[in-house]
Amino acid sequence: MPVSVENSKVLYSALKASGVRLVSALPETWLVHLIQMAEDDPEMTLVRLNKEEEGVGVSCGAHFAGVKSAMLMQNHGFLASVNGIVSLAQLYRIPLLMLISYRGEMGERDPWQTEGGLATEPLLKSLGIPYRKLADPARVARDLAHAQTLAESSLRPVALLLTRDLMWEE
């Protein structure tokens, strides 16, 4: 499977370095290594979800308990989480670090991913969620740390889009 193990490691190290100790996740191809790393790490609490929106609630509870968390999901999972993001994270000012695999972008071969790809950035913009696209592994640690810092200081959702360039090796 040509999902980049190296760049998954870079992302996971950045998550750990930014203090994240709980991740919620729903499996998706590009995220398999990241989720496995969380599973294998005794310092990390991994919560496998049935639907991504549950993760907004789990992150909210973790925040109240003083634990930094992140959500790992595909962009379609982001689409499925919108009410939780708006009515819990934004309404109640909960920091939410969202790592979103950006399917349906340039180079996508799966026809079923393409509509979600088109909707992702316009939706992030319309919700007022700051986001950054991660493509260069050399920038991942800094961008992730910055996103985590902004989520905590603004008490709002912040998104990082994990692009094909970062996650996929052809």
Partner: protein, 192 residues
């Protein structure tokens, strides 16, 4: 059984605990019995009260967490029951008031009015300790056992579709949220 009577009966067991409620009548009624800094009334995001409870329970293993939920909210996020069962935090009690109605928005019948049995769903999802109660005394017994136990439990309390006269609460959403978070921080300070 009226939900307000049920809440009144278990209030002594709730007042010093971390409690997360769903939106609407249950929040207002618990508030009317006496607000506590340890109560978080999640006034929206239907279905996520139990997910918030899961996050709290996993991150605060020394604290007992109570989620006060409703049939409409649980039906909106049924997958939460199997996520709870998967991690089965022993410090979480999920109390579901089932009035078979979306009372807060005008009393539309939910699927529990046409046969969906939430206790059976919870059990089928993998939660081993479950109960359905119909009387206040019965709830008191089952709830106090669950609170004393070391096992995830789901209690379905069948109640009449009767709510409070007013939904007004004199506590702001953000006021409640920050007070609740600060209370937990203080609890953690006391633990150390």
């Amino acid at each position: 059984m009226l939900r307000i009577d049920a809440l009144n009966a278990i209030y002594p067991l709730l007042k010093d605990r971390i409690v997360v409620t769903n939106m609407g009548a249950a929040a207002v009624e618990l508030y009317s019995l006496g607000h506590r800094k340890s109560f978080f009334y999640m006034e929206h995001a239907m279905g996520l009260a139990s997910s918030v409870g899961l996050g709290l329970a996993l991150c605060l293993p020394k604290q007992r967490i109570v989620v006060v939920d409703g049939d409409g909210s649980v039906l909106m996020n049924l997958g939460t029951l199997s996520t709870l069962a998967r991690y089965r935090p022993p410090n979480l009690v999920h109390l579901i008031f089932d009035n078979e109605s979306l009372l807060s928005v005008g009393g539309f019948p939910t699927a529990t009015s046409t046969g969906t049995d939430l206790e059976a769903v919870a059990k089928g999802a993998g939660i081993e300790r479950t109960a359905t109660v119909r009387e206040v005394e019965e709830l008191e017994g089952v709830f106090s056992e669950a609170m004393a136990g070391e096992e995830l439990s789901a209690i379905v309390a069948k109640v009449d579709a009767v709510g409070p006269a007013s939904f007004a609460m004199d506590v702001g959403l953000l006021e409640n949220r920050f007070e609740f978070a600060r209370h937990i921080k203080e609890l953690q300070g006391a633990e150390v």
